[in-house]
Subunit: 339 residues, 2 copies
DNA sequence: GGTATTGCAGAAAACGTTTTCCATGCTAAG
DNA sequence: CTTAGCATGGAAAACGTTTTCTGCAATACC
């Protein structure tokens, strides 16, 4: 069933059918009604492929996330999809599993499908592979990637804001030996968080013990491993700030296994504020980076760029704030209590 | 950049370019090489929309899940996507959030995009809306929906196998008052689990106390609520079997809050075996329903149906087994210990 | 050596839309 | 009353492929 069939039955030309369906105002209301009647009767749905072919716009956005099984991302996908649907956009989802090969193949597939834009939510993964996209003048939006270029927007996360709050919160609870467990060093976002931690510490005159800066991998298992390593060393921290919530949850679990009570013996702060953070025991104090806002911003950035006929000269930069959420996993430093 | 440009530069016709790219064997190797050289040079990617338009196959499968933020689903999405990529298929993901409106709109969008098949992983949601798809002879695969029809495959979950194991495991631990917290009653899969529980109990001569059959909603919050309700009643169970892991985790949490120790005071069994189940404290004994297998089966069912030129007369039925995984949340019934 | 058969590449049709261009009929202005 | 201008709908081109059909040359067979 196609537009010709409709045209025949409504006794008009295909042009009129097209115009009626797209609600072009110049078409005679009576004809339009006739067309719509036939459309309803036959349950006709236009063929998007043909539409895209001639209009040059596919109404598809690509969404690249680093790992859909990481609880941080489903929320983003959900929100992104919801907004997309509202704007009659479709999404092509790719979970790269941090594999450059998959990243490459997904970029290629997106180009082949002629996406109108791509949101790259991998938090600083190798952008080399994205040259292809840039070259093709597809609108892009990244997280934490500089510097801006034409057609490429960037969402900058203001890590410092939340991390500084967290550090000061811990300091106020008399913690001095504060550890930091980062994410993989190859991620830009990961390093940015570490930097923010360091400068927040120095700002209030706390020394950063290099032995208390450790590298995790943003998984719960990784958190457990690093925690074990950390607790085996001579200088033990009284508080630990983690680069994401899964790591923090791993730390909590391993601490529990080794008999450490949280927050009495060790305070733990996470990062991200995934839903799960509210539900672990004790509930995790964490730094919120709103997934909803991130998804919304990313979508709007793409939509804006698609709407522009002359590309923005230097892209646009958006900022997402981070904020400390107080829950139950932080408390007074143990030395204070025992005194 | 299009196929004509390539044809011009390689000094062949567009037909030859098409044949070369699609590796049709009859094309002269020398010509093919010339074509490929130009393709590489220009970084040409074929336009999938045009391809789909003429070939009638979009190489897109729809994937409808009930809620991507429910940890059960990301794993399915991940596996489904991975296999899809291997077969040069794309997926159109929809998370219905259990909203019939969204379900309807997503079905419509999938038809418009001319998907080659749809996997409906909503575990028994209102199929009424899917009439549209059936009518259009799009290959479909469902979970727990009968009876089979042409072009519609079904994955039947063998709930009884795992649930019977769980009930017998609890009985062996001397539990007699075993509660069951179901999912929403409108889900077929939910009722099937409840049925399996009942018959497993009766099979070994245990009485099912109607007061101990409760309805949850497959979320952690729901689990906590139902648990509170359950513990407020006069007849308290010594073990509880939950219709999914999130519910079980909610139960564990609420029990903990009210001072009940698990498994000493209450044994808890989940269903699904999401990754998180291994990581809660204590690790959750649960009934595994392999998400990997489910995704793989669903994809293969669609692929098989697409390959067939004459549709299977009555669809195909696949079966996924369920199995009890023993962890730490189940133990001897409390009355035994105190004796 | 002439005709039938095969192999292979190019021309052109087809896919289902949107959109440009053109024709028609009407209104309004001179 | 005539003509310019405008509104509206139809014809046809265009989008970028695949695929069928056609034609030509080379080989095989009698």
């Amino acid at each position: 069933m196609n537009i010709q069939e409709i045209a025949k039955r409504a006794k008009v030309s295909t042009a009129t059918v097209s115009r009626a369906i797209n609600r072009v105002p110049t078409v005679n209301p009576q004809l339009a009604k006739r067309v719509w009647k036939v459309v309803e009767e036959l349950g006709y749905y236009p063929n998007t492929q043909a539409r895209a072919l001639v209009s040059g716009r596919s109404r598809i956005f690509g969404l690249i996330v680093s790992e859909i099984t990481n609880p941080f991302f489903p929320e983003i996908v959900q929100v992104f999809e919801t907004i997309a649907v509202q704007h009659q956009y479709e999404i092509l989802l790719t979970s790269t599993v941090n594999d450059p090969k998959r990243m490459e193949s997904s970029v290629r597939r997106m180009i082949e499908r002629r996406v109108d834009g791509v949101a790259v939510m991998t938090f600083g993964m190798e952008e080399v592979l994205l040259e292809d996209l840039k070259l093709r003048k597809v609108p892009l939006v990244f997280v934490d990637v500089g510097p801006p270029r034409p057609r490429v927007s960037n969402i900058r996360i203001d890590y410092l804001h939340g991390i500084r709050q967290a550090v000061q919160h811990l300091a106020a609870l008399r913690h001095q030996k504060i550890a930091f467990i980062s994410g993989p060093h190859r991620l830009k976002s990961s390093m940015a968080r570490e930097q923010a931690f360091m400068s927040s510490m120095q700002e209030i005159g706390l020394v950063v013990d290099p032995a208390l800066i450790l590298e995790g991998d943003h998984t719960m298992e990784g958190g457990m491993e690093v925690c074990a390593k950390m607790l085996a060393r001579p200088t033990k921290p009284t508080a630990v700030l983690c680069s994401n919530d899964m790591t923090a949850i791993g730390v909590m679990r391993k601490s529990h296994e080794t008999g450490l009570r949280i927050p009495q013996d060790l305070s733990v702060v996470g990062f991200d504020d995934i839903r799960l953070a509210q539900f672990v025991l004790p509930a995790l104090t964490t730094i919120q980076m709103s997934q909803t806002e991130l998804a919304r911003l990313a979508f709007n950035a793409l939509l804006a760029e698609v709407g522009r006929e002359i590309p923005s000269p230097n892209g646009t930069e958006y900022v997402v704030k981070t904020n400390l959420i107080l829950r139950e996993s932080t408390g007074l430093a143990p030395s204070i209590i025992s005194r």
